[in-house]
């Protein structure tokens, strides 16, 4: 089952879209379509645990409840902060570095996974910076994982994608 981390902006826009379905902006329509497509594909969806904490207080609202029912929190593990510090050297903002590190070393609520396949973001500069440095990041991650115990030594760099690429691609694109 492919796994996806929706960054906090994607999570926010989906909830906002559900809050005013009669007046969707193009971006809200895009993320809503993405959310639908990922569910049809039976993907495993995560949001950063920090985004969950923001939304959890409002679970009595059906828009929030519906969204949270489809996602799981991705939690920090032992090497998230260390990897995020290294990522900062490639020009990522603190928050972008942390979410990319979370997508690499994050885990579910039982510690049963290490990282996700794909990180989805609406942040174009983040996306572009990742594409620019992708090969270097692969090497840097390989160097870091080399000395780590299992399962952390198996960590892999996720793919970073913008919703537009996923929504406008064939369904088979979601399968790994």
């Amino acid at each position: 089952m492919p796994s996806f981390l929706l960054d906090k902006s994607v999570a926010r826009r989906i909830v906002e879209a559900l809050g005013h379905l009669d007046n969707l902006s193009p971006e809200e329509e895009l993320v809503l379509d993405l959310w639908r497509q990922l569910q049809v594909e039976e993907a495993r969806l995560f949001i950063p645990v920090g985004a969950l904490h923001i939304l959890q207080r409002f679970e009595r609202l059906i828009e929030v409840r519906t969204f949270l029912a489809t996602v799981e929190p991705l939690e920090s593990s032992r090497y998230v902060k260390r990897w995020a510090r290294r990522l900062r050297e490639y020009g990522f903002t603190r928050e972008d570095a942390l979410v990319l590190a979370l997508a690499t070393y994050g885990t579910d609520s039982i510690g049963g996974i290490l990282g996700v396949d794909t990180l989805i973001t609406l942040d174009r500069p983040f996306f572009n910076n990742f594409q620019t440095h992708r090969a270097e990041l692969q090497s840097r991650l390989a160097a870091m994982t080399d000395g780590l115990p299992e399962p952390y030594s198996n960590a892999r760099l996720p793919v970073v994608q913008h919703p537009e690429e996923l929504v406008h691609s064939a369904p088979a694109h979601f399968r790994h």
Partner: protein, 117 residues
Amino acid sequence: MAMTDVASRHVWQVAELVQRLDRDEIRELIRLVPRLQREVTGERSGLVQWAREQMAQYADEARPMRGEDAFVGDTTVGAYFALPEAERERIWDELYATAIETAREREVKPDAVVSAR
């Protein structure tokens, strides 16, 4: 198979042309080909209908947002949705920064499933 390839190539060629149009030219195109608008509107209403159906599943556990409900950033739903996008983003950034500061680390099991990438 060959016909599909040809059709697909035509669509890509048209798509490339459309990508070069500015907003006014897009509007002119829609005026000339009204079916484009109908297809888009139809897709949107299908998406909205789907979203409403998803929410209906939780009608016994939760209720729709109302303007006076408390919402993210110590605002109300009404006030929140009246804010410009940049301000909503700022509120989330602030709350998120606090949330990740206090987030605990979880140990990953030795037999954890590693992403396929």
